[in-house]
Amino acid sequence: MQKVLNREIKELITAYPEVGRVLEEYGIGCAPCSVGSCLLKDVVGIHNLDPQKEATLMYRIEKAIYPDRKISEPVVDMTKKAAPKLITYSPPVKKLVDEHVLIKRLLALIPSIAEFTESSLKVDKNLILGCVDFIRTYADKYHHMKEEDILFKYVDEKAEIIQVMYKDHDIGRGYVRQAVEGAEKNNKTQVKENLLAYRDLLTQHIKKEDEILYPWIDRQLSTTQVGEMFRKCNEADASVGDELPKKYERFIVGLEEKFLQEVTK
């Protein structure tokens, strides 16, 4: 089993699809991951399951890989119901979680924007470039840069989970470039497909961060590091000024009003 623990998750799921299904049952959504190079032991460790749950998960994975092997089932005390885990964040990490909310509001609007683009005579370039400006300035410069320049520096940046996050950021930037190119060429399909791909990517990416990555990083931070990170994030915010987040919140409110009207027309 030790060898299995050190195998890459994607390779393992490809060889034993049942492993993917078992992980899914435990809320570990590695199957659709764009990279999948995390080791099984890291994947299990990072999710911080309670010991009983982790023992059962490992038993089921081992059974899925070696169905004929005699493996003793872990003793699980079913009378002890695990308390639902409430995720709490340190103040600087909480700020990053809060910034996700505005990004998720744009993601929620993307299907309507894609549909609007499809049904319009030509691409509404101002609309698409406005969304791109939000993504590049608010999501990427204001938010992702704090992750890349501050948060990720507190953990091993070579860790697979961090590499996956960097890769997601890069893939997202690629979709945005493609959407801009589509808008410039008045190619409705190119705009629509890339915005929808961006939405799918970022939805999963934010979920991974809120539920897995950020709590994992928070568990490793000392009190001193929390204070230091809080100060660095505040300095980064101050360097762009108070107006920037307000401006992009107004932009999202405007989009929500526009597309709510489109829906109710």
Partner: protein
């Protein structure tokens, strides 16, 4: 069950020394003097830019690993929100620690008795009055010396 939980008589002498090892010497992690909140100056060098532990008087006696787990690496101020007088001075001192001494973080350690939450309130009031913002953590110690909760507030 009536009366103030903070001064109610409880004897748990039978439960003491139930776990842990007494081998080895534990050095003190205290790196300053004075420590009482009325006596300390926010401008003292040992507060500048540091992580501060604001501990209710009883916590160090209740929690066996106080020095190793919570005092180590921090500067400290102690106070009792039930018995100390002139507590408005405390609010101003917390504000000065944040704004003038530019402390990194503030961890408030209190006992689980209701009156002790007054110290957490003092810390919150001081932090709200300060123009700088810093992370503030609350640690609650049970009467039998266990950590009941530890969370950023």
């Amino acid at each position: 069950m009536s009366g103030c939980p903070g001064s109610k008589t409880i004897d748990f002498s039978e439960k003491t020394n139930q776990e842990g090892s007494e081998t080895g010497k534990r050095p003190s992690q205290l790196r300053q003097w004075p420590i009482q909140l009325h006596l300390v100056s926010p401008m003292a060098p040992y507060f500048q830019g540091k992580d501060i532990l604001l501990a209710a008087d009883c916590t160090a006696f209740a929690f066996g690993e106080f020095h190793k787990d919570y005092l180590k690496g921090k500067s400290i101020a102690i106070a009792c929100p039930k018995l100390d007088s002139d507590q408005e001075v405390y609010v101003e001192k917390i504000k000065a620690l944040i704004d003038d001494a530019k402390i990194n973080t503030l961890s408030v350690m209190i006992m689980q008795v209701p009156c002790c939450f007054g110290l957490a309130q003092i810390a919150k009031d001081g932090a709200e009055k300060a123009s700088r913002k810093i992370p503030v953590k609350q640690i609650v110690v049970g009467l039998e010396g266990n950590i009941l909760s530890e969370e950023w507030i």
